[in-house]
């Protein structure tokens, strides 16, 4: 009889500790087959805690809708993978996410490479923290050294671009453009350029990299809370892009180029400079696919108002408010923020948010550059109207690139359309 009660007591204790519980984790494909990539971590976590983790993959495009459908059906996954642009709608969706302020300890907060990012995430949702980043990417630029050297670009300028304590400017880029833009085959037309702006993109950041560099609002809002498009920053950014085009420093047809086309032009040695280089490209894919590409990563330029910024994106985790296993879900988040898991996650070339790198990456000076820019990198604006604003500003940039509008007209139209979008 005593044994029976001990057994029952033991089982109850295991149940209390979460042993045997299965949490459902829906994740977006931050790597090919994330369920396989995460399997060793899950195995280790299960061995340590007895909590099983069942992983399902949802595409980035469908993530918010699928999460909402699951929440509405009362079948929300315990743990959800999100990004800066995706979590605000879920917070607004009937308070679907669990506030995490009560879970996160001061000690854990201090582990983050840039703790104030947690405050930025909380500020996007009225001061309450609903998501915790587990890894991040920032963007660097890159230059083709072969082109620069063949065109007589001074080592001083190259050093200015690659030294975090120095700075190069938009004027330096124009000067660089005048040196590297060339007609190599002698047919009277340039076939090597400075930079290809992906004017046909639907992405968020290509324009924002220039807008922020010109001193644009990180949140795309004025202090009064209005859209900040009819501003000097917009006009400066558009004027600069237009000038690059008019001077012939960009290839023809940039208004239709996708971001992948811009990357293809750089890796094919057609352009000398690119400003949206992901860590996975710089450190893994390009060396494998383009072994002859002699490139060097560079810091972002300093804009005309003295601003130096780049883009920051992260993988965020949130717990569903309706989850019956919140403690277990949080335990998994804590596990993913452990040194061991963070080191493992860096194999995805999204960098550990705690800065805990494996020795080979920690020793790589290029990785240090990605961490250097983290201090001033700006996350995707988390405004609910961002989806529409993105469409609006990309189309207005296109209008400038094809000469249909002046930068002033485009900035004014951006503002008008962004305000209309808010009213709707």
């Amino acid at each position: 009889m005593k044994r029976f009660f001990l057994l029952i007591g033991g089982l109850l204790m295991l149940g209390f500790l979460g042993w045997g519980v299965t949490i459902r984790f829906w994740v977006c494909p931050f790597v090919d087959q994330p369920e396989k990539f995460l399997a060793p971590l899950v195995e280790k976590f299960t061995a340590q805690t007895g909590i099983n983790v069942e992983i399902s993959v949802v595409s980035y495009a469908e993530a918010v809708v699928k999460y909402q459908a699951a929440i509405a059906a009362g079948e929300a996954p315990d743990l959800m993978y999100l990004t800066e642009g995706r979590f605000v709608p879920l917070v607004q969706f009937g308070n679907a996410l669990e506030p995490l302020d009560q879970y996160i300890s001061a000690e854990l907060r201090n582990k983050f490479a840039r703790p104030e990012l947690l405050n930025m995430l909380a500020n996007a949702t009225g001061g309450t923290l609903y998501v915790v980043p587990i890894f991040f990417v920032t963007y660097l630029g890159a230059v083709n050294l072969d082109i620069l050297q063949a065109c007589g670009v001074s080592q001083d300028l190259i050093d200015k671009m690659t030294d975090p304590n120095q700075a190069y400017t938009w004027d330096d880029l124009l000067y660089l453009g005048s040196l590297v833009t060339k007609d190599l085959d002698g047919d009277g037309k340039a076939d090597q350029w400075l930079y290809a702006y992906p004017g046909g993109t639907g992405w968020i950041h290509p324009f924002l990299l220039w807008y922020w560099s010109a001193g644009g609002s990180p949140t795309l809002l004025t202090e009064e809370g209005k859209p900040a498009f009819d501003t000097d920053a917009t006009r400066l950014a558009l004027t600069f892009l237009r000038r690059l085009q008019q001077e012939g420093f960009m290839p023809p047809g940039v208004a239709s180029l996708e971001a992948s086309d811009a990357i293809a032009l750089f890796t094919a040695g057609k352009t000398a400079f690119i400003n949206n280089v992901w860590p996975s490209n710089a450190l893994k894919i390009w060396p494998q696919q383009f072994p002859k590409l002699n490139y060097r990563l560079v810091y972002p330029p300093v804009g005309p108002t003295g601003a130096r910024t780049t883009y920051y994106g992260s993988g965020l985790l949130a717990i569903a408010r309706q989850s019956k296993h919140k403690a277990e879900a949080w335990a998994f988040i804590e596990f993913l923020l452990s040194d061991e898991a963070q080191v493992y996650l860096s194999a995805s070339y999204y960098f550990p948010i705690t800065g805990k790198l494996p020795p080979e990456l920690a020793a790589d000076p290029r990785v240090k550059m990605y961490y250097d820019v983290l201090s001033y990198a700006i996350p995707e604006p988390m405004h609910p109207a961002m989806a529409r604003w993105k469409v609006i500003y990309n189309s207005e940039v296109q209008a400038v690139l094809i000469g249909q509008k002046t930068p002033q007209q485009a900035a004014a139209d951006m503002q008008r359309r962004a305000e209309e979008a808010l009213k709707e």
Binding site: Q68, G199, P251, G253, I402
Partner: protein
């Protein structure tokens, strides 16, 4: 009840088909109609806004531009595909050796998925792509195929390339059905090839010409993938077709109510086109 019992077996047999039809076609269509009277950013519940979406639609410069673009696609595609597929069929008919081979070659673009086709042509159209490299090698100026002025004709070029083989089969079947003795009699009476074409072949092929015209008209109103993959509707909405507009409003801007209203108007346009098609075919 007695009558129902009489058709019990018929109803049972039709039930799976009816169930699928109602679930996947009728119910979504009704849902779209209802959503079109709401404001619904996917998040939360829809809010009823009455006819606001519809009244806004006809003053919306982007919707009107998409409609205009779609008509432009139609104006280029219908005569081009109809004429070129007719010509292709005539050529195929006169080939005595290897006709099946050429038929297969012409039908091949239709077999390849449109997404793959679009991805390939996107590469061809690039300012420094193979087409422009050929032009430069020939001493000509490169062409910005995806510029505001040329983007719709360029996209139409892809669709024409893709579709003429398919529609040529319609014409070929029609040509095969023309009794040879009619043509022989005309030849005996002194009719040359042009006269035979104008006074015998074209009148007899009229039903096929109408059918192909109607199918290509409806097809041109259903352009989506090519625009989505090659230009995304740009530059500056200059290639955006109606379906792309509906998709963008719904899935990029999350204005489901407005997208639904656009879809209802789009449905009405297609419905009217189908009615015209039916009337014309019945008359012929």
């Amino acid at each position: 009840m007695h009558k129902l019992r009489k058709y019990y077996l018929d109803i049972t047999l039709a039930f799976p088909g009816l169930f699928l039809l109602i679930t996947f076609f009728v119910a979504p269509a009704i849902a779209i109609f209802i959503v079109s009277f709401t404001k619904w950013p996917i998040i939360g519940s829809p809010t009823f806004v009455g006819l606001k979406n519809y009244s806004k639609l006809f003053t919306d410069e982007f919707f009107l531009r998409a409609l205009k673009n779609t008509l432009y696609y139609t104006l280029i595609l219908v005569p081009s595909i109809t004429a070129l597929s007719f010509v292709t069929a005539l050529l195929l008919r006169n080939i005595t050796r290897g006709r099946e081979f050429f038929k297969a070659i012409y039908i091949f673009p239709m077999v390849v998925t449109l997404t793959s086709t679009a991805a390939i042509w996107k590469g061809l159209f690039l300012p420094y792509g193979p087409l422009n490299q050929i032009l430069v090698k020939l001493g000509l100026n490169p062409i910005d195929f995806l510029s505001v002025e040329l983007v719709i004709p360029s996209l139409c070029l892809v669709l024409i390339w893709r579709d003429i083989g398919y529609y040529a089969l319609f014409f070929l079947a029609g040509l095969e059905s023309i009794p040879p003795e009619v043509l022989e009699a005309a030849t005996v009476d002194g009719a040359g090839p042009l006269h035979r074409f104008r006074y015998i072949i074209v009148p007899l092929m009229k039903p096929i010409i109408i059918l192909v015209s109607i199918l290509t008209t409806i097809g041109s109103f259903m352009i989506f993938t090519l625009v989505y993959v090659i230009t995304g509707g740009g530059p500056v909405y200059s290639s955006q077709a109606l379906l792309n507009y509906i998709y963008d409003v719904g899935w990029k801007e999350f204005r489901m109510g407005y997208a639904a209203a656009t879809a209802v108007v789009y449905f009405i346009i297609l419905f009217l086109l189908s009615m015209i098609q039916r009337l014309v075919i019945e008359r012929e």
